[in-house]
């Protein structure tokens, strides 16, 4: 991500906060969002922290193409919760101990992760089916256990399911401690194992061949996800925790391709959705906090999908458009160059008395319609590369001649390379070279020059002769 976008985003946030500080409803909003309101402070901070932790852990899942692991994992906790309840009732008489339930959830959650990894590693069943199997079978086992508990005389099971649905608006101090603990662990693990996790996310095979303990790292990563899921489950519910593990990370991916930035942005988006979402729901009685938070995160995702500078729709469309323009321009220049080359042994490419190329000759070079060609020429003219001679034809300016020579040279260097090293027939190299000539970097060109010392040394402008007849 470049600095401009970061600054713009910061300015936008500042403006939004300033805007929010005026007016009476806005006063309420500001006092809630800016944590001046005691009742909502705890909930807002907790959900924001959970968002941060979810964003971090979710980034790893997204890059490992396992986003739905949070889904599988959170359903796999049900049998653990119920088993823990049964065990606790048998031994202590009181099953509602919070610590016991969380431990049970974590145990079957981890077991679920391990089973997914085992199925993936040992059979030909793919990731998605493995997650689905674990989700449904574990959850089914949970439902069975739940129906046993309902027949138990010590019942008092009401609310055991609600463990899965969370209680966002009524979080207590314990939740706050747990959630902040999880966030600190997630942050610490991401920083401490930054290099290891990055390598695992982008090139697992390389990591293994370098001797990294990839299995251990993988399990560690999933432990982190389990921690966030289990802590989040009882605090905010199953759907919100799934959303926290997927949406901020996917949003962040729109903004950057760099691992560090992605983690930071995902954590930021997660935190912001928790903060704004629970603030909004606190202001309007009856709005379920979890739903508002998910929708806030989704709104941020839509914004990123449109405006993200790396993968956003606008950025990608603009980039594709610019590339198309450049390709057209370079084709035009090479076309002119090749026509001039055919015309005579020593064409006057530039300067006084520059040779002219007719429109018809150019149209024949590529499948341009007259209208298309005119538009391309007009754009090249605006850049000072060509001059039009009315209906007669087109000629290169000095700058255009230099660019045309460079483009043609790149094309032919690549062609010669393909003929000599990739053993491709001279009659077939034109199309292949066409596809790459626009993206050959300066460095690659230098290496081509060094490699192709045998290439026939060309005319004065350094352009080698074409290895194939030009049509």
């Amino acid at each position: 991500m470049n600095k401009g976008w970061g600054t713009a985003f910061a300015l936008f946030l500042a403006a939004a906060v300033a805007e929010a500080s005026a007016g009476s409803w806005r006063d309420d909003f500001a006092s809630v969002v800016l944590l001046r309101d005691y009742n909502t402070r705890l909930v807002i901070i907790s959900t924001a922290l959970l968002g941060v932790a979810g964003g971090l852990a979710g980034s790893f899942l997204l890059l490992r193409k396992r986003s739905l692991m949070g889904d599988a994992l959170s359903h796999a906790t049900l049998p653990g919760i119920v088993l823990a309840f049964i065990v606790a009732v048998h031994f202590t008489g009181a099953g509602r101990s919070f610590a016991v339930l969380v431990t049970g959830a974590a145990v079957t959650g981890i077991l679920g992760c391990v089973v997914v990894l085992l199925i993936r590693g040992l059979t030909r069943v793919k990731d998605d089916a493995a997650m689905g199997i674990v989700l449904s079978v574990f959850y089914g086992a949970g439902v069975v256990l739940l129906s046993i508990v309902q027949h138990m005389p010590e019942a008092g099971t009401a609310g055991l399911e609600s463990f899965l649905y969370g209680k966002t608006a009524s979080m207590v101090l314990t939740d706050f401690y747990l959630v902040s603990g999880a966030a600190v662990v997630a942050l610490f693990a991401s920083l401490a194992l930054f290099k290891e996790f990055r390598l695992l996310c982008f090139d697992e095979d390389y990591a293994r061949s370098m001797g990294w303990p990839t299995h251990a790292l993988d399990v560690l990563m999933l432990l982190l996800v389990t921690l966030v899921t289990v802590v989040g489950l009882q605090a905010v519910g199953v759907v919100l925790i799934i959303a926290f593990l997927i949406i901020p990370a996917a949003s962040a991916r729109m903004w950057t391709s760099r691992f560090g930035w992605m983690l930071a942005i995902a954590a930021g988006f997660g935190g912001a959705s928790g903060w704004l979402g629970s603030g909004l729901s606190a202001l309007t009685p009856g709005l379920p906090a979890g739903a508002v938070i998910v929708l806030t995160a989704a709104a941020l995702f839509v914004m990123s999908l449109l405006a993200g500078p790396d993968r956003g729709i606008v950025a990608r469309t603009v980039r594709a458009h610019l590339l198309k323009r450049r390709i057209e321009r370079q084709h035009l220049l090479r076309g002119i160059y090749e026509v001039l080359e055919e015309d005579g042994p020593a064409p006057q490419m530039a300067g006084e008395g520059t040779s002219m190329v007719t429109w018809e000759a150019l149209e024949c070079k590529r499948s341009w319609t007259p209208g298309e060609l005119r538009r391309i020429v007009r754009r090249a003219y605006r850049r000072g590369l060509v001059e039009t001679m009315g209906r007669a034809g087109v000629r290169l300016t000095d700058a255009g001649a230099r660019e045309a020579a460079r483009v043609t040279r790149n094309h032919r260097l690549w062609e010669i390379y393909l003929v000599e090293y990739a053993d491709i027939a001279p009659s077939h190299v034109d199309r292949d070279a066409d596809a790459v000539e626009h993206i050959l970097g300066a460095d690659l060109i230098r290496r081509l020059e060094a490699t192709l010392t045998r290439a026939e040394r060309p005319a004065a402008d350094g352009v080698p002769a074409s290895p194939h007849p030009i049509r």
Binding site: L62, R124, V144, S162, G290
Partner: protein
């Protein structure tokens, strides 16, 4: 514990549900979209809410249409997000279904406060209660048959899935394995994708309204994945997964009724037990499958 006619109906309903799901699920598993059933079962909430707000009634037809439309939309949105944003399929599924679920929750709490639509009830089915809702009494050879509504609904869904898959088997097969080749051969791969998604949505919605969503999610994935371990041929895989599904239904209900009775407990949840049975069958196939099982694989690698 005795076995009543009641129990036979439960097994019959479960078997039909499992068979209908297995037919659609085989293609989902091959297309690596197994989690679609889970996604749809969460995502239909806004459809239910909107159907209620528009018609003001809780009749099952309106609810069914609302849910089925949202189910198809889930597939469409998933496709859009993953194409427009270059987002991995699983992630875009997750984004879409959590957002739709949140939207549904919001609609229910704001607009339809009087509806008893508990988001929790969507997840817990009641296959045990299906024989109570009878649509027709037939007397066949002097035996009174009280046909449950769920049996009729799921039978219709099963026949629909069967018809589509038999008629379009070649097209579905080729677009599942090689969409590009399908397109060059003149099969509209995109159409096949959405047709399959429509089948999945209709099956999921019809089935979880009848028997609960956990059973649906399990039957969409586990029997086809089990069959995939046992055979390399698609036709065989579809047949085997239907057989597996029926086995899960019968075995699951028997286990739910008889196993707890051994220790003197009350019967446990049938849908949960069916899912667990499916899991056990999968585990057995994973270990003992003749070609793709863990044992066969390790024996081959020893040689």
């Amino acid at each position: 514990m005795e076995w009543y006619v009641f129990d036979t109906w439960i097994v019959a309903v479960g078997a039909l549900c499992a068979a209908a799901c297995a037919l659609a699920g085989s293609f989902l598993v091959l297309r690596r979209m197994s989690m679609m059933g889970d996604a749809i079962s969460h995502a239909v909430l806004p459809g239910l809410a909107v159907a209620f707000l528009l018609t003001g009634s809780r009749t099952s037809v309106a609810m069914f249409v609302g849910a089925a439309v949202t189910g198809v939309l889930t597939a469409v949105f998933t496709q859009w997000v993953s194409r427009l944003g270059n987002v991995e399929r699983g992630a875009s599924m997750g984004i879409v279904f959590t957002t739709l679920f949140a939207l549904g929750l919001l609609l229910i709490t704001r607009g339809a406060e009087k509806v008893e639509l508990d988001p929790g009830c969507v997840l817990f089915g009641a296959i045990e209660l299906t024989p109570l809702d009878v649509v027709a009494d037939w007397t066949v050879f002097g035996v009174l048959l009280e046909i449950p509504r769920a049996f009729v609904v799921l039978g219709a869904v099963f026949l629909l899935n069967l018809a589509v898959i038999v008629l379009l088997f070649k097209e579905l097969r080729i677009s599942a394995f090689d969409p590009a080749l399908a397109t060059t051969l003149g099969v509209h791969a995109g159409f096949m994708h959405y047709l399959l998604m429509t089948l999945v949505a209709v099956t999921t919605v019809a089935a979880f309204e009848a028997v609960g969503s956990i059973l649906v999610i399990a039957m969409l994935i586990v029997p086809p994945a089990t069959a995939h371990l046992l055979t390399d041929r698609l036709g065989m895989m579809v047949v085997l997964s239907v057989v597996m599904g029926v086995l899960c239904a019968a075995g699951g209900h028997a286990a739910a009724v008889y196993l707890p009775a051994l220790t003197g407990h009350e019967a446990v949840s049938t849908s949960g037990m069916m899912a667990v049975t499916a899991g056990v069958l999968f585990a057995a196939a994973a270990v003992f499958a003749p070609r793709h099982g863990i044992l066969a694989r390790s024996r081959r690698s020893l040689h």
